[in-house]
Symmetry: C2
Subunit: 199 residues, 2 copies
Amino acid sequence: MSQTAPEIEELIRLLGKLPGLGPRSARRAVLHLARRREQLLQPLATALAEVAEKARPCAICGNVDIGEICNVCADPDRDPSTLCVVEEVGDLWAMERAGAFRGRYHVLGGVLSALDGVGPEELRIPFLVERARAPEVTEVVLALNATVDGQTTAHVIAEALSGADVRVTSLAKGVPVGGELDYLDDGTISAALGARREI
Amino acid sequence: MSQTAPEIEELIRLLGKLPGLGPRSARRAVLHLARRREQLLQPLATALAEVAEKARPCAICGNVDIGEICNVCADPDRDPSTLCVVEEVGDLWAMERAGAFRGRYHVLGGVLSALDGVGPEELRIPFLVERARAPEVTEVVLALNATVDGQTTAHVIAEALSGADVRVTSLAKGVPVGGELDYLDDGTISAALGARREI
């Protein structure tokens, strides 16, 4: 492909770095864009430039949004008494899609990892403790992934919050909606049995 | 996701229209970009804007490149005696990657289809005939896909070129390199047998 213009090669190279796209599908995407100049290529260039210029992490919760403070933190209708701790911005968006939580968030930006040198400071855990000490906050929900790293991080956070006057809760573990027992792992079945409730 | 900024929603919507990306992976791509502001988001925005501004179909062959005339057509070292006819720009790029062809191209931009109202005019076949009549052109290679539509289109082009003083050839059909007979379809085996050569 020595004959293709460097501008096009650069676009293929960068698109190929997106998750879900490799070099081959990035080339296909560029051809797709070139055929849809008005409908897709130009609008996408504009949208990307706009997000590149304006999007930043929210100074309070770490959500990605336009402006200094994100829409969730700026919304006066959100319940300030409950903080929900998530690992990544994608988890916050998943919670919002579910539409079941009306409080505020705190995005860690990862999980604790001695190996990768990720300590409480990197995850803004001291700032979380500070937020939890605010008089209006009564509960911190730990909505971390049900992985070993996520659960370790949850324990460390629970300990850090022990001095603050708040309830610390975590998402229930159990059978996912639509889940069939025959296809579930032993750990999930044990957790669901241990946490069984009166119906 | 009523809480996400419209700028970000718009970027997710547009990215989701790329081949290989759906709404879900587009959202993941945007989060990936937001985390890699300097290394990926800004360079990608720049690269896309540049391509959106400068890339256009080559006025001669239909290749997508920067500028009025593409690199292949503008290259004085390419053999002007042979024209290679391909369906799409992606096919031209595939030929270039193979590096086996040193002539010039003609991109049809599709195949003939009475159903979709694609006739010879839409595929620039009259312009191909005009190019083939140039005194320096001695051969037209039809490198169309080995599909029913591709082969129908090849026949129509061969007929249109019958008045021009050129050889009309097409890519050989046979066993692909690395192909195993046991996994090949009957049509390919029959074609390869019919076109057998002395070794």
